[in-house]
Amino acid sequence: MSDEYPDTDTLLKMYACMWRIRHFEEAAGRLYKQGLIKGGIHAGIGQEAVAVGVAFALQPGDWFASTHRGHSHHIAAGADLNRLMAEVRAKETGWCHGRGGSMHVAAFEVGSLGAYPVVGAGIPIALGAALTQKMRGTDRVAVTYFGDGALGQGTLYECLNLASIWKLPVLFMCENNHFAVATSYEDSSAVRDLLSLAKTFNLPGIKVDGQEVLAVHAAAGEAIARARRGGGPTLVEADTYRFEGHYFGEPQVYRTREEVEEKRRSRDPIPLFEKLLLEKGVAESRQLRSLAEAAAQQVDQALKFAEESPSPLAESSGDYVYA
């Protein structure tokens, strides 16, 4: 592949990572149907390219704030899969000792500021992390993931304003999957073109096909590089799609089954990437199969680990209230 692409090793890691996310999310879905996971699981199936594209443009010391649909961000950042599955299974060995669950996962050692299910809540938090980097003179950056739903939240606009006036090293990463629960982006946003939003707040904007991992990677890379050299924030909009409901088990009255299946056929980021890798001769089919297989096995191991882990003790319910 050409120079503008990452090297083969990285490309294959990205591919494997996308499969890890896919297998993990599908396993979570199965556990949910078996009744082994309580609460809502918001799967990022179909959005793997965004998580992987951005994460692979980050470096140790960078930060990201995640959302309710945050497993993929964390897996892409390299968070231990066993502990992630254990957390989703509400076990003591989970990243959050069973106190957070799927919607409040966190893995600070890999740069996660935490997953915040209140829509938009992570945005100012990411800005705070970025502020610290600026005040301390580091060249580290912060990414804030948010969906099209956050376009309804005032804090997004306050933060675009703040990041812009203070020139904070932030990547505003919008995963526009066109639906906020059951409400379509078209119906709820007067702003149709996020690039214009960026322009209004005096910061650069990039729109990218969110199902093409390398396109995302390039856009994120550009934004992150800008932030690192003190150029301030960038807003990146990734046009993406989720193949499952807002949560596993949602009736999905707001779109047709045909639409979803059509998207699966034509816009699945993993086959798209696979096609690219094969076309460019980066890898052979067999190799890619075994990477996918290895990813599946890692997820199986995580399932086993989580299954065998203990639940937190009731006596510990009062721990961690105060630092």
């Binding site: 106190r99 500021l113 935490g114 945005i123 938090i125 306050e158 933060c159 105060y322």
Partner: protein, 327 residues
């Protein structure tokens, strides 16, 4: 011992902690060159620069959220919200994020922020319903937060320094009508521990637990009652959450009578929490049911004539004490 105003005490605490720890920085509206709406931060931007004394736009929820993010990445921000009433705009970040991060992420991270807010009414320029509330109960109901309400300059300074050094998020409530109140403040690195009540005046006949401005009213009532032969013990919890129940209970076990008074609206207020704790721990020692006094269940009115009617006064506190003594 030097004497200074409550406002000066807070200013000093900020300055001393910022000198001591480079990770401490301030953010809020008009806190830089303007010196803050009440003048608390006047002079600080000159000493510490605009990076560390940072004026923000009118975006409460976002700059409090930024304080959370800054705290998660190793800093110790002290955010100011201009009036406690406005903190409602930042409610999500204070209550859903700052308070809960340490717990819901299983101890992976801490949020050592302090959110300072002037609150209260009583002879301050008739500020009305959205500039005069007392909000401690909003936050005392949230596990993970600490809520502090000093009544005296020395407590204000000591508690703020301790709050800044505390690794948990602290809501620091300042009574704006006390800003000009003068009192003795110890020199040196004066720290007052959070979660510890203070006996402001010892007495054997009745325990009066009061917060904020009501501490001053209670002390006035105590003077009058002393002339009548009733000696009142005035206790200031200082920290509303976590509450130092033992100091309150120990006092009531000695005096056998309790009057609890706050300026905030009585219904579901901290003062009712104190009463229940006393009932639970001191029932057999009580000579009378605890008397609970709080602000009336009304929004704060604009007119002075109305405003003075809605809050407890020293005479009311004295009357309540007399009732518990069957005098």
């Amino acid at each position: 011992m030097p004497e200074m105003t409550y406002l000066q005490a807070i200013h000093q605490a900020l300055a001393e902690e910022m000198r001591r720890d480079p990770d401490v920085f301030l953010l809020g509206e008009d806190i830089g060159p303007h010196g803050g709406a009440f003048g608390v931060t006047r002079g600080l931007v000159e000493e510490f620069g605009s990076e560390r004394v940072r004026d923000t736009p009118v975006s409460e929820n976002s700059y409090i959220g930024m304080a959370v993010g800054a705290a998660l990445t190793g800093q110790r921000p002290v955010a100011e919200i201009m009036f406690a009433d406005f903190s409602a705009l930042a409610f999500d970040q204070i209550v859903n994020e700052a308070a809960k991060v340490h717990y819901m992420f299983g101890g992976q991270a801490r949020v050592p922020i302090v959110v300072r807010m002037p609150q209260g009414g009583l002879s301050w320029k008739s500020a009305g319903a959205n500039h005069s509330q007392s909000v401690e109960a909003w936050y005392a109901h949230i596990p993970g937060l600490k809520v502090v309400l000093p009544s005296m300059p020395s407590d204000a300074k000591g508690l703020l320094k301790a709050a800044i050094r505390d690794d948990s998020p602290v809501v620091f409530l300042e009574h704006k009508a006390l800003y000009s109140f003068k009192g003795d403040v110890p020199e040196g690195d004066h720290l007052v521990p959070l979660g510890k009540a203070d006996i402001k005046r010892p007495g054997a006949n009745c325990t009066v637990v009061a917060s904020g401005m009501m501490v001053h009213f209670a002390l006035q009532a105590a003077e009058q009652l002393s002339r009548e032969g009733i000696e009142v013990e005035v206790i200031d919890p200082r920290t509303i959450l976590p509450l130092d129940v033992e100091t309150l209970a120990d006092s009531v076990r000695r005096t056998h009578r309790a009057v609890l008074v706050q300026e905030a609206v009585r219904t579901c207020g901290a003062v009712e929490d104190w009463a229940v704790h006393i009932l639970e721990s001191c029932f057999e020692w009580l000579d009378a049911a605890p008397r609970v006094l709080g602000g009336a269940d009304v929004p704060v009115p604009y007119a002075d004539a109305l405003e003075t009617a809605i809050w407890p006064r020293p005479e009311g506190i004295a009357a309540a004490v007399r009732e518990t003594c069957y005098a």
